[in-house]
């Protein structure tokens, strides 16, 4: 089975009229037909819409050339992104028949950029409860080994991109839901700065921690997708009225002169990662050093402080949104979601407020650390993907995640593949930047990615 090109490659082929959007879309549909029965990455496939979008792109391109690098590119949306006239379920029985009247801002922006909508992608229930086996749709599975977890909650996007069913897709990230699936599925995913991408029309989990962003096979493809998604939106009260730079302009500039801080205590003592992950991070740091970056240790508050702060805020914000249903329809939720979400009903207002006060301190600490740094590098996940049936209900309460810290502070953070573990499952790291400096994050991620051979390998199941 022929693997898919990256978005950047496909854009060049489309512009040169060596491949048509219709051919590319039919190829994706054939791959979905063959592979998705093992992966469950799609909740809803929209082949008629996809072919209509592709034909429109083709006609446009034949007449006047592509409008940009996303014209005619097949993508999917996490099923918490509202899509006008297309069912949007949040992977929940409670929204099983929900059909939005309008597109999310980001859905509209990506459509205006010329993308082809292939369908809606699996998530954890309301971006919080998974992997669940008691919902109307099964959880997505990892294309590197379908017995293993994708992480969540942008699980369908991670699986579909890694398997080459789509060229890119959308995700959301409240505590790591873009970076986790990107890490365990061996692709790239960026949580941009809080305020960089509109959340309007995306079903919320925790207002002050929710971020929308893209996942794709390469860092460059994430930059292309984010370019279309970013920008001020008055419909989102947290949207930042800041200029959006050209995220690809500096991709080839390398990392020479960049100052990289490494909070090794995060991934060596606060939550020790496995040896393969630690080695992957150290090899990446050596690569950055050889490419001319300056790497040094940085100390921050314990990782669990960030996790506790983020979790307490997230679960209370989430519970406030779900309180009515939690009281009236508790058993319509999946077990994982309802048990985790119930914590939000049991946290005092004083404890919530102390978490908000701690958040201010942690944001100040992170801003101070970045005074003389351009980037921070740490783990994205503690190891390769565990088996999908071995994910504890209280996983993120028992051990701190590496990703929540940057939801708490709002910094942009990218997950990048750092190789493969003994079982052939992907390893990963996280590259974090200053607020609104996604361009430098992409620059470093691209420099690393092009220096290493990891993008040449696809899951065996997907023809790799």
């Amino acid at each position: 089975m022929t693997p898919l090109p990256t978005i950047a490659e496909a854009a060049r082929l489309i512009a040169a009229k060596r491949i048509s959007p219709v051919e590319l879309t039919r190829h994706c549909l054939a791959r979905i037909e063959t592979l998705d029965g093992q992966l469950n990455s799609f909740i809803l496939l929209t082949p008629e819409r996809a072919l209509a979008d592709a034909k429109a792109a083709e006609a446009r391109i034949m007449q006047s050339g592509p409008k940009g690098p996303l014209d005619g590119i097949p993508i999917g949306h996490k099923d918490i992104y509202n899509t006008k006239g297309i069912r949007t379920t949040a992977h929940s029985r409670l929204l099983e028949h929900n059909v939005p009247a309008a597109d999310a801002t980001t859905v509209r922006l990506l459509a205006e950029a010329g993308t082809v909508l292939m369908g809606k992608l699996a998530t954890h229930e309301f971006a919080f409860g998974g992997p669940s086996f008691d919902l109307p749709w099964p959880p997505a599975r990892n294309p590197w080994n379908p017995e293993h977890f994708t992480a969540g909650s942008s699980s369908g996007t991670g699986a579909a991109v890694a398997a080459g069913l789509i060229l890119g897709g959308t995700g959301s990230d409240t505590g790591g839901s873009i970076r986790g699936p990107a890490a365990l599925c061996g692709i790239a995913g960026i949580k941009p700065t809080y305020g960089r991408v509109s959340r309007a029309g995306i079903i919320p989990l925790g207002f002050s921690l929710d971020h929308a962003g893209p996942l794709a096979w390469t860092v460059e493809d994430c930059a292309i997708l984010l370019q279309a998604m970013a920008g001020h939106d008055p419909a989102d009260p947290a949207s930042a009225d800041r200029p959006v730079p050209d995220f690809r302009a500096g991709l080839g500039e390398g990392v020479k002169g960049l100052r990289i801080g490494v909070p090794r205590h995060f991934h060596e003592t606060d939550h020790p990662v496995n040896e393969a992950t630690r080695r992957g991070i150290e090899t990446a740091l050596d690569t950055f050093t050889k490419l001319g970056a300056e790497v040094r240790e940085v100390a921050l508050s314990p990782l669990m402080d960030y996790q506790a702060c983020g979790f307490l805020i997230m679960v209370t914000e989430a519970y406030a949104l779900h309180e009515q249903w939690m009281k009236s329809s508790f058993n319509l939720y999946g077990e994982l979601l309802r048990d985790r979400m119930a914590m939000g009903a049991l946290i005092s207002a004083a404890d919530h407020m102390q978490a908000l006060r701690r958040r201010r301190e942690l944001c100040a600490e992170m801003a101070a650390a970045f005074d003389d740094l351009d980037l921070i590098v740490t783990a994205a996940q503690p190891s390769e993907a565990p088996r999908i049936d071995q994910v504890p209900k209280w996983a993120n309460l028992e051990k701190p995640s590496f990703t929540m810290a940057f939801n708490v502070t709002g910094n942009p953070a990218l997950s990048v593949c750092t190789g493969y573990g003994a079982g052939g499952l992907p390893l990963s790291m996280q590259i974090v930047g200053k607020p609104f400096d996604e361009a430098t994050v992409f620059r470093a991620g691209h420099a690393y990615e092009t220096a290493m051979p990891w993008r040449e390998r696809r899951p065996a199941l997907a023809g790799g």
Binding site: S153, D173, F330, M343, P386, A395, N396
Partner: protein, 75 residues
Amino acid sequence: MLTATAPQVEKKMKPKISEADFEALVRRSGLDLTAEQRAVIYQGYAYVEAMAERMRRPRGREAEPATIFVPEMPK
């Protein structure tokens, strides 16, 4: 937002709140839980207690929360 965690071998934490007090807390919240559901959530609540404890620390009265208030609402 769930990420991977290797299978846990640590000893499970025990909540500080008594089961009777927890039951009262659940009743006050308005959640309609079975005894079995309450028992499962009670176990997880130990982690939430520990997280809340981490947030309580000496800080000055002027230490404000990280909420942003924009007085001019967009039209």
